[in-house]
Subunit: 205 residues, 2 copies
């Protein structure tokens, strides 16, 4: 009897400026155990983009068919094109024992949570609103209007916090620590009773 | 803003022969972060037993008063004496950031779960029933009747498995691994949203 080694479906969100990208890049360095899911899109490939690596490039008809078949874990329309995460791809990775990372906003995350009770939702947070504001300001590339917009947007995103399972704080210069905390959450989740039906069945014989 | 560093109330059960004692001894080596709770008892101290270290030695009247006050997380009567876990002791350790380990049987664990929604219930398991049986046999000190009794008792204990939050398998010669898995579960639990009201409040301002 072994603990279920299927991968964990990890949904990661976090407001703009929380340093989510850096934290996730640390996690994804472990290619054997972690993978981003490859999204489907109906837009044309840009130079250098490879089908099945950067995106699965599909026609609009095919995409709509996948939605109708319930194969889209979440999807969105942007500038007339569809983007979405196909369940089939996610499942085949999970079966291989790979933890699948979905980096999505809170609306998408709530959809995934509704469809997949096995999804683990983690919110990456800045140490405080003040730090978030300072980070957005120090980038220097954002106008005052843009900063105000991003902060409002962050507050909006963070309204979903109680719906998440875990939170991790990304302190200044400690993104490796936040990544390690997420990895530990994933490892702990594998020991959850509800993920270990085989063990339950064995000890119920 | 920091992740809540209060200790976690860790309830650990496991059938006789699963190697629970060894696994817990590894965890408790980390005296700074883990502690067994000191039980109260109404029996007389044995030579060498120190009040407040091995047990809190109290009168039967005092013990019954503690039950009436709702201060007993769980208790049991054995050979005319009471044994129990006082909430006050547990809470003061948790406040100090110490994770408190309760090693109790499933009935007591269910009581704790009902009283304390923050308790984390972990079941330590043998790799299989066959291994459990072999372990009990190889001790050599148990009669066939005793082994049968213990196995039946194990099956009885394991009926509570679906009520536990996590399971950890103690493989032959890998008790350190099981201990590490429990430590990771405790660390992950500290990131649970419901344990981090301060963070929730901050980002809800």
């Amino acid at each position: 009897m072994e603990i279920n080694q299927k991968g964990v479906l990890l949904v990661v969100s976090g407001p703009s400026g929380c340093g989510k990208g850096t934290v996730l890049s640390h996690i994804l360095e472990d290619k054997e155990n972690y993978s981003l899911s490859v999204s489907f899109t109906t837009r044309d490939p840009r130079p250098g983009e490879i089908d099945g690596i950067h995106y699965g490039f599909v026609s609009k008809d095919e995409f709509l068919l996948q939605i109708a078949d319930g194969n889209m874990l979440e999807y969105t329309e942007y500038c007339g094109n569809y983007y979405g995460t196909p369940q089939s791809t996610v499942n085949s990775l999970l079966e291989k024992g790979v933890n699948v990372v979905l980096e999505i906003e809170t609306v998408g995350a709530m959809n995934v949570k509704n469809i997949r009770s096995d999804a683990v939702l983690v919110m990456i947070l800045p140490p405080s609103y003040e730090v978030l504001e300072n980070r957005l300001r120090s980038r220097g590339t954002n106008s005052e209007e843009d900063i105000t917009k991003r902060l409002l947007r962050a507050k909006e995103e963070l309204k979903a916090l109680p719906e998440y399972h875990y939170c991790v704080i990304n302190h200044e210069g400690r993104s490796h620590e936040a990544a390690e905390q997420i990895r530990r959450i994933v490892e702990a989740e594998k020991h959850k009773i509800e993920r270990n039906n085989m063990i339950l069945n064995h000890f119920y014989q």
